[in-house]
C-alpha cells in the first residue's frame, strides 16, 4: 500500500471569480485517483459541504488536471432541459461535454480542462459531476471506474464488483480490522507502468463512509454472488468481460471513448485474475481473501 500525502483540508486562495459577479470565490483542490480537480465557488455554504465530504482527498499542493467553477443557484434556476426523474445525460456538443441531470447542469471544455456547473448547494450534484469527469479522464488513460467495493489487505487491493444488492457494502462491513477500505461503492482503477492500481475514493455507498485515500496494486477482482457457502470459482474470459462491462461506470455516448473503455476492460482481464466469489454474510469469507 502506498499512502498519498493528504494534508488537512485547506482553502488555497481567495480571489474574485469573473463568473461569480462580485462575490469572493474560493478554491479547493480535491485529488481522487491522483487526479487533482480544482473546484472554485463563491458559496461559503457549498465550500463547507466540499470540505466535509472530500476532506480526506484535499491536496492543496497538487497541480490541477481540471478546474470547475460551481455556481450555486436555486433549483428552479438550473438551466437543465431534463426533468427531475430523467436519467443523466452526457453528450458532446461543439467541443464541449454537456452533463445534465435534474439537479445540475454542467459544461466542460476538455481542451481547456475547465468546466462550469450550475447546481444547488448539495453534495450529490458535485459528486455525480466528479464521477463523470473522472470517468472521462480515465477513459483516455486506460483507467476505469467500477461499481465495486475495494479493500487493501497485506498491501494488495481486492475488488468486489456487482450491481446494487450484490453485497458490496456487506463484504465491506465484514472486512477484518487489518483491512483498509478504499470504497464500498465506486472503485477507481488506474493502469500504471507496473500494473493496475486501486485508489481510495470518497464515493460511498450504503456504508456512508468515504474510503481511505491510499492506493495499492490490484491483486484480484471478484464478482460477487451471495449463496449458501463461501467459495471462489473460476470465470470464463468472455463471461468475465460481460460481468465487468456491466459494472463499469461510463456515461458518454462517444465512439472513441466507449472503444477505449472496452479495450481497457479487455486489457484488465489479461493482467488481473477475475473470479466469482460466492459468500454467506459472515466474516469467515475473508479467510479466502488473502
Amino acid at each position: 500500500m502506498h499512502p498519498h500525502p493528504a494534508p488537512p483540508a485547506q482553502i488555497i486562495q481567495a480571489l474574485v471569480g469573473p463568473l461569480m459577479g462580485s462575490a469572493i470565490a474560493q478554491d479547493v483542490l480535491i485529488e481522487i485517483g491522483a487526479m487533482p480537480v480544482l473546484v472554485r465557488t463563491a458559496s461559503p455554504e457549498f465550500l463547507q459541504i466540499l470540505q466535509e465530504r472530500y476532506g480526506g482527498f484535499v491536496n492543496s499542493a497538487a497541480q490541477p488536471v481540471f478546474e470547475f467553477e460551481v455556481e450555486i443557484v436555486p433549483p428552479s434556476s438550473i438551466p437543465t432541459a431534463i426533468g427531475d426523474d430523467d436519467d443523466l445525460s452526457v453528450c458532446f456538443e461543439a467541443g464541449h461535454w454537456v452533463l445534465e441531470r435534474g439537479d445540475f447542469h454542467a459544461e466542460l471544455d476538455p481542451a481547456l480542462r475547465h468546466g462550469r456547473i450550475w447546481q444547488s448547494a448539495n453534495p450529490y450534484a458535485i459528486d455525480a459531476a466528479f464521477r463523470i469527469v473522472h470517468s472521462l479522464l480515465l477513459a483516455k488513460q486506460g483507467g476505469l471506474l467500477v461499481h465495486a467495493a475495494s479493500v487493501v489487505r497485506n498491501g494488495r487491493a481486492f475488488l468486489f464488483a456487482g450491481v446494487s444488492g450484490a453485497g458490496k457494502t456487506t463484504i465491506s462491513r465484514l472486512a477484518p480490522p487489518d483491512a483498509t477500505l478504499l470504497t464500498d461503492e465506486i472503485s477507481y482503477l488506474r493502469r500504471e507502468s507496473d500494473g493496475y492500481f486501486a485508489y481510495g475514493t470518497p464515493f460511498a455507498g450504503e456504508l456512508a463512509q468515504p474510503g481511505e485515500n491510499v492506493r495499492a496494486p490490484l491483486a484480484a477482482l471478484y464478482l460477487l454472488a451471495q449463496g449458501a457457502e463461501n467459495r471462489i470459482d473460476p470465470v470464463a474470459e468472455a463471461d468475465a468481460l460481460r460481468a465487468v462491462m456491466r459494472c463499469i461506470l461510463f456515461f458518454a455516448q462517444d465512439c472513441e471513448l466507449v472503444g477505449n473503455v472496452f479495450d481497457s476492460a479487455c486489457h484488465l482481464l489479461q493482467y488481473v485474475p477475475v473470479r466469482r466469489l460466492t459468500f454467506v454474510p459472515d466474516s469467515r469469507v475473508w479467510e479466502l481473501i488473502v
Binding site: 474470459e237 468472455a238 468481460l241 455516448q253 462517444d254 465512439c255 472513441e256 466507449v258 482481464l269
Partner: protein
Amino acid sequence: MSPMYIARTREVAARLLGGEMMIMSARDSTLFSLNETATAIWQAADGVTPLTEIVERSVCANFEVDPVAALRDAEELVEGLAKHGILKVSNQPIAEEK
C-alpha cells in the same frame, strides 16, 4: 432477389475472447457476443462480398449446416446486428468508411 452486402461499422469495438467475438456498440454501449458461425460472418463482412458468398465460404465450408437454413439464419443475424448499428447492410457494395 438482389444480393445483400454487409460491412462492419466503425462505431464498435470488438475482441475475440475465449472463442467468442465480443462486440461493444459505441452508440448505445450494448455488448454482444457472437458464436463461432456468427463470428465467421462478422469477420467476412467486408462490404464487397455478397452475404450468400460469405455463408458459402465461411459457414457452409467450415460447419456442418444446411445451406438454406444457414443463409436464413445469417440474414436474421445480419438484420439484428444492423438494428443495433454494428453492421451496415445494402444491396450495393459498401465503400470502406474513412
